[in-house]
Symmetry: C2
Subunit: 218 residues, 2 copies
DNA sequence: GTTTTTATGTGACGATTTTCACAAAAAATG
DNA sequence: CATTTTTTGTGAAAATCGTCACATAAAAAC
């Protein structure tokens, strides 16, 4: 078990997998096991063992031939790579059902991630909703600035999303998880990751239909 | 504007993009425009124009050199490719905030997609919740079977997801959108698409941090 | 200690996806 | 009508990503 050698030239897709390895390793660690094989991790997240080892290889993670990986050590190394040592504060704008669902997610805390506050233009949604305080959106800029929030979640309707992003950028936000079904434009460096649930569902429908028509016309 | 020539050898990634093109085209169509250029679509969803044209090329979509594409024709062709002519009935299991958020999504109807019903083990969540009827989970198998539902959404906690899938499979489900943060196993052909919101957020955090440390150590 | 068995680590290969670049078509211009 | 401008369509090149195969190490078995 060594330290990563080369940081650059990372496979972008390996990052979400590292996150998944970490979740699985937590469960395995809690169960008391102290060793884990690439095959275990592969099965747990539905990929091949070679893929797991390749990911590890990219980050310079070394196990023991025939001995697999020490669960605890592996966890520590992956934590270090993912870099969540320091607490990560996040805010959510748009406290409809989706925003509320995210604010309720357990497990964020375990990862050192803290959803600090929610914001909404609808006064009815303000107050304490679930686990976090919810403030009027008008206070969002001040909050982000004062608390040095770096990451925000946008869970508002399409029409309002760009305005929300603009405010976030004014506050110095550096990363956004965007659930609004529109592409957003940022005039300063900011990582924007779109999650479009409608697109996910409709794509799935295509593949289901394709599967059926392929069966009939092979 | 012609019909698709080759159906096989499709780029998997082009499907979600086609779905996005369709959304954009709907908006453009509503605005009264009748022509659209690859560049317009590219900007609207944040990719390159070459990518748009390549996607179209793959599906045999032909425009007019220098004339772009007829918005209406393009919409019709893409609809045909995505194959949503017939109504697509979907059920949701797990009517917490996330399930409810999905059930409330407008725009599904416009796409010919109909969220027919929700199910939950919690009796308090049953009845009419938002726009759809919610039944006890015990009735799920019968409902899926009787209504020939082909696609389901799983929005339950990790621990319950596999059991839900098993029931769905018994009912003959062919596609699942899984929001539970676990990998599911199916013993019959079924397209399972995972959406792990925690993984999305944590990956984003990595890239935000990476951006910062890169700035300091270029 | 020798042999067998089991997992890793990684270079090479193959497959897939995106980008590039430019010929070709047609609209626009004069 | 000739020229210019703009945009498409696509083969070819480049980049990215995943798979394979096997040498290598070490545990296990005897």
């Amino acid at each position: 078990m060594n330290l990563p050698q080369r940081i650059s030239g990372v496979n972008k897709n390996s990052i979400p997998r590292l996150v998944q390895y970490r979740h699985v390793l937590k469960r395995i660690s809690d169960s008391g096991r102290i060793r884990v094989y690439s095959n275990d991790l592969a099965e747990a997240i539905g990929i091949t063992a070679a893929q797991v080892r390749k990911d590890f290889s990219l980050f310079g993670i070394i196990g023991k031939k025939r001995g697999g990986y020490d669960v605890h050590d592996l966890l520590v190394v992956i934590q270090k790579i993912l870099g969540f040592q320091q607490g990560q504060d996040v805010v959510i704008v748009g406290m409809g059902h989706l925003g509320t669902a995210l604010s309720n997610y357990k497990g964020f805390g375990e990862e050192g991630i803290c959803i600090k506050a929610g914001f909404d233009t609808d006064a009815d949604k303000c107050g304490t909703r679930g686990h976090i305080p919810v403030y009027p959106f008008s206070e969002c800029l001040k909050y982000i600035t004062d608390h040095h929030i770096k990451v925000g979640i946008i869970a508002v309707p399409a029409g309002a999303a760009q305005k929300v992003l603009n405010v976030m950028l004014l506050g110095g936000i550096e990363g956004v998880l965007n659930f609004a079904p529109v592409h957003l434009f940022a005039d300063q460096p900011c990582v924007i990751h779109d999650v479009n649930l409608m697109v996910e569902l409709e794509s799935l429908l295509y593949f289901v239909n394709a599967l059926n028509t392929r069966e009939h016309n092979p």
